[in-house]
Assembly symmetry: C2
Homo-oligomer: 130 residues x 2
């Protein structure tokens, strides 16, 4: 297998060149493009929701810092693990994906809580994108 | 600092016990609970959208396997990186969070594309939660 063929196997750009391989490839490219538009729309919605989520968790971080609470709350996390796993199964999503999502957002939120606490409860440390 | 105090600093359960520390703590607990309800609603929406996203990428995986395309498409990823970074900044979200989200979903989608390809284009390998 030469380098180009090997590269093809590892990575395929879904474009006009891929479509030119034959009628089945052309149909696959057209269908993939259509699906990708829906995927992009979903991503726009999720990014907007993540923006709102981090605004809320930033407020939680300020309240925690002012009240002298720690960034972490294990009982809250246990509640979220159970809840999101149930919602995932109801929605037809692999609950492992839901747990990876939860771990990602909670870890990042706690890091930001820590930064707010270190800044004496000032949420301004996170405000570079607001 | 004894173990319990150290534990308090690392983890605070935001509950009636935390609220009993004083009026400011009580107010913080009430406000955090309110914010957490909004955070939970956002998580429900995101999990539902992720379920739809993985249904779409599973379809993409089948089409790629049938057409002999690789799971990865670097040009598509470059497009997503630029696009989601822009959407994040417009929405007031740290673009690093958007990139972490993208890497998470794309990595998981590619793993599933690989499994579909190995099953000869049969999406049934992922259907345990459908």
């Amino acid at each position: 297998m030469d380098d180009e063929a090997s590269g093809h196997w590892r990575d395929t750009t879904v474009d006009a060149e891929a479509a030119s391989r034959g009628p089945e490839a052309a149909q696959a490219v057209a269908h993939i493009r259509q699906l990708r538009q829906s995927i992009d729309n979903i991503d726009s919605a999720i990014i907007s929701l993540l923006a709102e989520r981090f605004k809320f968790t930033s407020q939680v971080g300020v309240l925690k810092a002012q009240a002298g609470f720690a960034p972490a709350d294990q009982r809250r996390e246990d509640y979220q693990i159970t809840r999101l796993g149930r919602i995932a199964i109801d929605a037809g999503l692999d609950p492992q994906i839901a747990e990876m999502y939860r771990e990602f957002v909670v870890t990042e939120a706690k890091k930001r809580h820590q930064r707010i606490a270190e800044a004496g409860g000032d949420p301004g440390v996170l405000d570079v994108y607001a």
